[in-house]
Every structure is written in C-alpha cells, then in structure tokens.
Symmetry: C2
C-alpha cells in the first residue's frame, strides 16, 4: 500500500554532504520502494495516500552491516585478550563447533537477529558456520523477521578443529541446497559464497567456492589482509599468487561476482588496484581491528582510489553490533591516520554515514538512500531526550550517532515494511 | 546505619587480577565505609545488621572520572571536525562564554550531573568555566545529588575571547570564595585549582594558581602534552622551562599538591620522570584523544614507570560520559601500541578496571575498592538480559563493560548512601 512518511529527513546521495529536508515527506510505493522525497505534501501527488506522521523526529536510511559473524554472537564482548590467529583457535572455532547442535544454533541466532533489529541494521552480510542446518535456521530467522541478509554457510577444510572440517563435496552439497532453496534473486534473504579465508581453505575448496559462485551467480564474502601474521601465512600458502587478493582472484573469488572483503587493513597498492578492477567492496571493521589488535585500515586511501567501502560490526572481533557506533570508530581511526599524515583528511560525518547507508547498502541492491527507486529501508529516531530544540538537524543526527542508542530508534522499515 | 550487601562481588586490589566473590557480602559501617568483605554471612559479625539482597547481580566499585568539562556538556557528540586549538577557538570557548548566564549554567550543569549519575560515575574531577557563580551552582548540584566532585573554576587570561578573560585578582578572588565556602576536607564536593592550560594562562595567573593551591592545600588539575601543536606552543611560551610539565612545576602546579594532568599523549621520558617524582596522576582520555585527533597515549609506559593513571571521559572532546566505554577505548589504544611494538603488552581488562576504580579513585581519597576503610562507592549491575547464565562472573563483567549501558546499572552508592 502506498504510504507517505512525514518527518525531518536526512540521507546522503553523495559522500561529502547530507541531504536534509526539515519537515519533509517520503512517498513509498506498493513495492516498498521510494517514489519521491519532497519538502511539501502537495507536490508529492497521491492525494489519497495515508500520511504517517513522524513530525519532529528524524527519518534516516537504515543501517547496513557488511561483515558480521552470527555464530560468534555468544562471544560478543568477551575474550578480548588475543590477536587474530590464536583468538580463532582458542575462542572462535570452539564456539562455532557448538553449532552442530541445531537447537543451540537456533537459540544463539534468534538472539542475534533480534539484537540486529534492535540496533537498526536492516541488511547484513553474515557468516554462519560450516553447518548447513544451522545456516538454514539463520536464514529462516531473517526471513521471519522481514530483514534482509546475505547468509554464508562457511567453507573451511584446514587449520581448524576436525569438528569444523567438511570435505569439498560436503561443503558444495550444503551450499547448493541453500542456493536452491533461496533461489529468488528478489528475496530479502539470499545465500552468499563464504570461504572463511585462505588459511582455512585448501585450494580445492577455494576452487569449488569460485565455481559455485559463478554457477549460481552468487556474491562472495571473505576476509582480506586483516592481520600481519595472517598475511604472511597466505604468502606461504599461495606462493604463486601476487598477494592475498590475487590468490582469491585466481579462484574466481575476487570480483568475478559481487564481492565484499572484510578488513583490508594491510592491503598494498597492488591489492587495492585489483579491488578497484574487480569492484570489490571493503567491509571496514574498525572496532574489530582495534579489539583483535590488527591495525587501522587507511579508509581515506580506499575512498580516494574509488574503491567501494561499507561498514561491518564484525561481531565478535567487534564488540558492538551498532553500525552507528561503528561510524564513530571509523571516523576515529581516520583521525589517527590524519594525526600522522595531514595529507589524509579524516572522514567527515557524512562520509561515515554514507558508508553505513548507501556505501554498504549497494551490496544489497538499491539500498541505503531515499533516492527514487531505492528500497525504503528506514529508521525513525526519537531524540526528544537529547534536547533536540538546542541543535540543528545535522547536529541532532551527529549527536544521536555519537551518544544515542537503540532506545532512540522507534520505528524500523525494511523494503517498505515495518520490522 | 550499618548495612550488609549480598551480591556477586568484583573489584581490583591490584591491577593484574580481579578479586571475585561469588554470592558474597560487603559490610558497610555508619560512616559509609567498607568494614569487610566476606564469602559468608556468619564471618561478618553484625548479626542484627540489615542485609540488602542483590543476589545474582554484580556489585562493583563505582566509576571515577578524573577529567571532564561540565561546561562542554552541550557540545557532547557534536563539533567533531577540528583539532584541539581551532576546536577550542571555534566551538569550546563560545560555548563556555554562555556560562556568564547563571540560568544557562544551571540548566546545562543539571543535565550533566544527572547524566553522570546515570552512567555510574560517583566521583569526578570537573572543569567548570571562569564564572564563579556558575561554578558555585555546579558544586551545589553535586552536593544535592550526593555525589563526589572536585570542581574547578577555570583560570585563564590569554588566547581566548575577551568575555572569558578575568584579571588575576578577579580569578583569585573567585577561587578563594569557593575555597572558603567548601573548606571541609571531608566534604564530598571540594574545589580544585584549575589553570586551563599554559597557552591560556599568563605567568602571573599560573603563579597565582600555584600559590593558591599551596595556601589552601588544594589539589590541581590541568592539561598536559595533549596535542603536538599545543606542545610546540608551550615551548615557545615558556622557553626557560625544560618542557611542558616542568613549566607547571615552576609555578607550583606539578605535584606540590595532589595533581592530575589530562592526556599526556606526548609526554617524553623527562616529563614522565617529573610526573613520577611529583606523584602526578595521568587522566587518560582515549576517546577524546581520538576525536580531537591528538594521538594515542602510551599508558603501558606510564604504568611500567609507576606513574598513577585514572580514566577521563573528557566531555566534549570525548563524546561518551561512560567510564565503562572509556575502559574499552583505553584497551583499544593499548592494542594499537602493541600492534606496532610487541614489547608494550596491551592492557588487561583488570588493568582498565583498576584505572577506572582504584587508580582514578585514589585522587578522591580511599575510593575505588572494597578493601577495608574504603568509601563504599558502588554500583549494582543487573545483567539478566545479557544471558548471565552462560558466562563466568568475570565474563559477565567483561560483557557488561563492552556491551552494557546505563540500563544495567540499577543502584548507585557514594560513600555508603544510595544516590
């Protein structure tokens, strides 16, 4: 049903500034997509459409999380005392092994999806585990919630506990089942090919993943150049590749279908060039990069080079599921680069917001803006207890991003439907 | 009245580990101080004392914020686009000038004190503004709330708008009024001598501040080595001093009375040696140091050298008033140092917690621990919605610190009284 939403509207068409309409209107069609944004009711047309009145509140695009591990939700906010490789071995793999128990999976995944909704994230690129049935449950939970997700059954067959190892045939069979069950390209929930990362996957597994992505036209997600020890290990494991990114590329996992790579803290110029060529998106996970002591990704460089960037919470390397908080961390990381090198200007608020909305959203379709034809993925922010009368609309948004939380998010929409 | 509190008790005597008593008891005397902590009721004595039952919840020392600007509360979470010196000029000084209006001061300070209470901070070392009457209001608000604070009427007489400049005589007169009105050394609210920082104070003002601290036996707070441009400016302004810290020392403002210095991002070995000699406390403000693009303070080095460290939210350079969040940032900063230099181990959770409680608390007396004779400053944490049954007590605390918020703080005590 056609609807018109009245509120203070803020979004980013371009990175470098906000579009701001005080007391404006967004018209949303039967298909859940934005028809038009306007400053006055009359110019919208649709005289009979229902007007939903959020006068005084902020209406912004919903958050998109382009890198998060649903199966690590139980470890959120604990186990913060190791770097990546030992952290995986000691904390993460033992936790993921529990997801062989489908009831356990259902329990943790329910908490995860509910929390994701709470913090205003309407689309996510998600790692599950190697377990097909658990992954299926997670996909169902997203479908039932009416939220958008690209969900990856994880592929891995080396350097991990036996209980998490599948053969290539088992892995392919599980991925094909899910690809067949969720084959509608218009569905909000879809599978994504998810080799964990090169250290966890034999060449045969990586090859099978690349072939599967190509055969089913599926997107790809993985990890790239997160930690120096990890990068060194990839150079040893794939001596013929020109680098970590090139290793993925050789297996058909680096832009041959839409690809998002988490972290890219240590990507060098050659790797960034390959990303640009393949239109590979960076999932910038600044919180996680702090917590796992990986480093600080030079996001200004990626943006300057025209590489796509979205934001990821990366639970449980990251501790905070909120993409609003992730924006703050992204700006802070960029300020540490700027502090050392004033030729790298730090991120504007509008740039961080753009990454969280239109930047990351582009991985899910026309998502993350209120431009015509975009899915109406939106949040209504009630900041009455943040003294809105004292601030401009842009300051109200900034203040909410920096100091607000899920209590201020009073309505959530995904493709036009309230979630 | 004597009281006994029953709960899961966690605190830090030493930096490197938690004291944890599952389902234990804290006995608090008529004077609001801890008499004893025990694992069972009988060994406490006091058979007739009331037992307040917080079974299942966490009982921890309250937070101490050793650096925060009450008068910048209106700018919390906005104006994040400049480095220190232009930021002061464009955003901070114009805001502080508004505090000549005492009604405005009352309004903003009320919000500030209420928010501080909400996030579980029971003691704070606070900057007000140059305005004596506004500062008096802030002190009264703390007194009325039953919270502890060292409140500084700011001294400054150069490099700032005319409206914020006082003569040395005016400044001294205002500080003396407040020192006289709050002269009881046992009072929870006391004045603190607060030269803003060397770039804002003439030598005459700095000298007067040092003499005042000595005459009234008052503690001192200021800023030190926050930003490279600021440090360079101090070297120009005080060419005879051996450095920034030494300049304060020459005016009697660096350990001659108890002293806390905010930031210390760029303190060199000589400055740290002076801090050690004067027992000067670092107010580590990692959030602010990110936001204002100052840098990352090497806290491991300060701890290794035996220098006292507490945590500061530094609103509005910092955006988050919660010292729990500040702990997370402190650990993250230490991980970035560790990433570059593995000889600087990152902070343990217990070390961050110690800085937030016993470390910072030591600036306010015997505060920040549940050892005998300490003021009973405490928080009761109800983490039932964080799935406590799945975690150990230390993990529950860690998870609350990383992912919880003020909703989980259900009781607050300052020196034995519920706030």
């Amino acid at each position: 049903m056609k609807k018109i939403y009245r509120a203070n509207i803020l979004y980013t068409k371009q990175k470098d500034c906000f579009e701001i309409i005080e007391d404006g209107y967004v018209a949303v069609g039967d298909d859940g997509r934005v028809c038009r944004v306007a400053a006055d009711r009359d110019s919208l047309g649709w005289p009979d459409a229902e007007v939903v009145d959020y006068t005084g509140k902020l209406l912004i695009p919903a958050m998109n999380d382009v890198h998060v591990h649903a199966a690590q939700y139980h470890n959120q906010g604990i186990a913060m005392d190791m770097e990546l490789l030992p952290w995986l071995e000691h904390y993460t793999f033992p936790e993921e092994a529990k997801f062989a128990d489908t009831d356990y999976a259902e329990r943790i995944y329910s908490r995860f999806v509910s929390h994701l909704r709470r913090v205003g994230t309407m689309r996510a690129a998600v790692f599950a585990t190697v377990h097909t049935e658990g992954t299926r449950r997670l996909m169902r939970l997203f479908s039932e919630a009416g939220m958008g997700a690209l969900v990856g059954k994880v592929a891995m067959d080396r350097n991990c506990p036996d209980s998490l190892i599948e053969t290539v045939d088992e892995a392919v069979s599980g991925m094909e089942q899910l690809a067949t069950e969720y084959s509608d390209p218009q569905s909000l929930v879809r599978p994504i090919v998810t080799p964990r990362f090169i250290p966890s996957c034999t060449p045969a597994m990586l090859k099978a993943c690349g072939e599967l992505a190509s055969r089913y036209g599926l997107p790809v997600q993985s990890h790239l150049s997160e930690n120096l020890a990890e990068v060194a290990s990839v150079h040893q494991l794939e001596p013929d590749a020109l680098g970590y990114g090139d290793a993925y590329r050789r297996y058909g996992l680096f832009g041959q279908t839409p690809t998002v790579m988490a972290h890219c803290v240590w990507s060098d110029a050659a790797e960034r060039r390959l990303m640009k060529e393949g239109d590979v998106m960076v999932a910038h996970c600044p919180t996680s990069n702090f917590n796992v002591a990986s480093g600080m990704a030079p996001i200004r460089t990626f943006l300057d080079e025209g590489i796509r960037v979205g934001l990821g919470s990366d639970i449980s390397g990251g501790h905070d599921l909120s993409i609003f908080r992730t924006m703050v961390y992204a700006i802070q990381v960029s300020k540490m680069h700027y502090q050392r090198n004033h030729d790298m200007p730090f991120l504007l608020l509008s740039e961080a917001f753009w990454m969280a909305t239109k930047g990351g959203g582009s991985f899910f379709g026309r998502v993350g803006s209120f431009e015509e034809g975009y899915d109406f993925d939106a949040l209504v922010i009630d900041d009455h207890d943040l003294y809105p009368e004292d601030y401009t609309l842009e300051q109200r948004l900034e203040r909410f991003i920096y100091t607000g939380d899920d209590r201020h998010i009073v309505h959530r929409f995904c493709r036009g439907k309230e979630v």
